[in-house]
Amino acid sequence: MSELRIAVPRGALFIDTLDLLDRLGIETGEVRENDRKLLFEQSGIVTMRPSDVPTYVEAGAADLGITGKDVLMEQSERELYELVDLGYGQCRMVVASVAGEDRAAEAQRRLGVVRIATKYPRIAARHFLHTGRQAEIVEVKGSVELAPLTGLVEGIVDLTATGTTLRENGLVVREEIAVCTARLIANPVAHKLRARTIDGLLERLSAV
């Protein structure tokens, strides 16, 4: 039985995270072999969507978790400790619009307000607020790239790793908001009550 419960994100950070846990001596074979199982009692691993990781860790349903900085920025009100920048899974949070003349800038200038589609409404709203521009944030759940191509919006705020998806849809990056990497987060109470176990893990982490 593991002493710590660790929330592991499925998706883009999944394999890198399991590789890291392997190096820390946490057995992940069972997790790799099971696509549908969610809770692994032996290793203490629970798997979930990256955006659910802060929810479990804040409530103490998991002691530690790994998720992207993008998720933490979007859920900045959560009571969590952000312990370590793990360095992998590097992406950029960007403002993008259709290639050619920047329609977002044109809307800003001529209509006063730019419409922005995103899965990150708070990051997007904060970015435009801090840069002194009025924006109407349109929250979408699926492919954000579609929104400016159909005229729903003039620009998007989204996470991009290589830029391939943007390029293939004829979009170009106009601004960079932040560089996001995987982060190790902790429940604040667990960080106090299970200090020795967590610090042991952090020591092994800085050694690998």
Binding site: E82, K192, A195
Partner: protein, 339 residues
């Protein structure tokens, strides 16, 4: 149709209450009442007289103190157009009470309360916008004696509530700021580092510290201190500015009974967002619940802003969270394996 005819309520408001508030029904109420009765008996036995102050106060009362983090969230006007607020905590109302009702009384003064406070939080379990606090304020008793007394009462009330596995984190609000000053960090950077620390962003602290261009030893000191927590051994073997900075914690520890001392986690990184804390700060943890159950600390400057300069210390337990932790302990965390 029996009961409330919902279709007949044009606003649909009859079955709704404000977000973040809730009704308490008899089964829960009996358990809460039994718990608060036991806690109240501990407070009274220790010499703390119960007081009640108005839920509504003038806004100006709360502007006298640095309440960063718990500013009043709910305001209204009285019949003369004055701004009233629902109190966000009980410490400031009791500071006002001491200054106005006991201007000449010989300290120390001991008060306790079971009262609701109001904050504009993001509602979730254990985080209500109206919440019941059980707490004490010890006025006119300086560190370390007063702090040790408050910690003793805190442990006795948690024991009486029936909690088994709790721990109390003890830190010092002045520790990290004084360390930053001793190392010569300029004030604007100090603010930024403290903000990251209050946010629990250790990656941000590291980034800010690295930008200062300090010596390797100084950087290591500033990065290791916020992560240092454990038994009394964390107060030993220190040198220089850090040795001096934990002096207050060592003095408190020396005055605690073994029963209290065994509950403590010495936490050099414990910082509270409340601006009025000056020295010792504490927080109550239980393994059965992922959020702190209560908190407190010294506020030696607060009474002065009400014209009655006296050192003071106090704590407040969140009764609903205490109940959740108690229930969690009883249930045992069945699926979580050997702990």
């Amino acid at each position: 149709m029996s009961g409330i005819d919902r279709a007949g309520d044009p606003n649909g408001a009859i079955d709704r209450i404000p977000n973040g508030t809730r009704d308490v029904l008899p089964d829960e109420m009996r358990e809460l009442r039994a718990m608060t009765d036991r806690i109240r008996a501990v407070f009274e036995h220790a010499g703390y007289g119960e007081v009640y102050t108005p839920a509504l106060e003038y806004e100006g009362t709360f502007e006298r103190a640095d309440t960063a983090g718990t500013r009043p969230a709910y305001r209204m006007f009285d019949e003369q157009g004055k701004v009233l607020v629902l109190r966000p905590d009980m410490t400031i109302p009791i500071a006002r009470l001491v200054a106005t009702r006991y201007p000449h009384a010989e300290p120390p003064l001991r008060f306790c309360y079971m009262a609701h406070a109001y904050r504009g939080v993001r509602p979730q379990r254990g985080q209500a916008r109206e919440f019941l606090q059980a707490g004490v304020e010890l006025i006119g008793s300086p560190a370390p004696e007063g702090t040790a007394e408050a910690l003793g009462v805190l442990c006795a009330s948690l024991d009486a509530a029936g909690l088994d596995s709790y721990s109390i984190g003890l830190g010092d609000a002045s520790l990290y700021p004084s360390l930053l000053e001793a190392v010569g960090v300029p004030p604007p950077s100090r603010e930024r580092i403290l903000t990251e620390l209050v946010d629990g962003d250790f990656v941000g602290v590291e980034r800010e510290v690295h930008e200062l261009g300090l010596s390797g030893d100084e950087s290591r000191l500033l990065l290791s201190v916020p992560r240092t927590r454990g038994g009394p051994e964390v107060l030993e073997g220190l040198s220089g500015a850090l040795h001096d900075a934990v002096g207050g914690m060592r003095e408190v520890h020396a005055r605690l009974s073994p029963r209290v001392a065994q509950r403590l986690i010495f936490d050099l990184g414990l910082v509270r967002s409340l601006g009025y804390y000056t020295g010792a700060v504490f927080q109550v943890y239980d393994p059965a619940y992922g959020v702190p159950i209560g908190s407190g600390g010294r506020y030696d400057e607060l009474l002065g802003s009400f014209g009655r300069p006296l050192p003071a210390v106090g704590f407040a337990l969140n009764v609903e969270r205490l109940h959740i932790a108690l229930t969690g302990e009883e249930r045992g965390r069945a699926p979580r394996g050997a702990r």
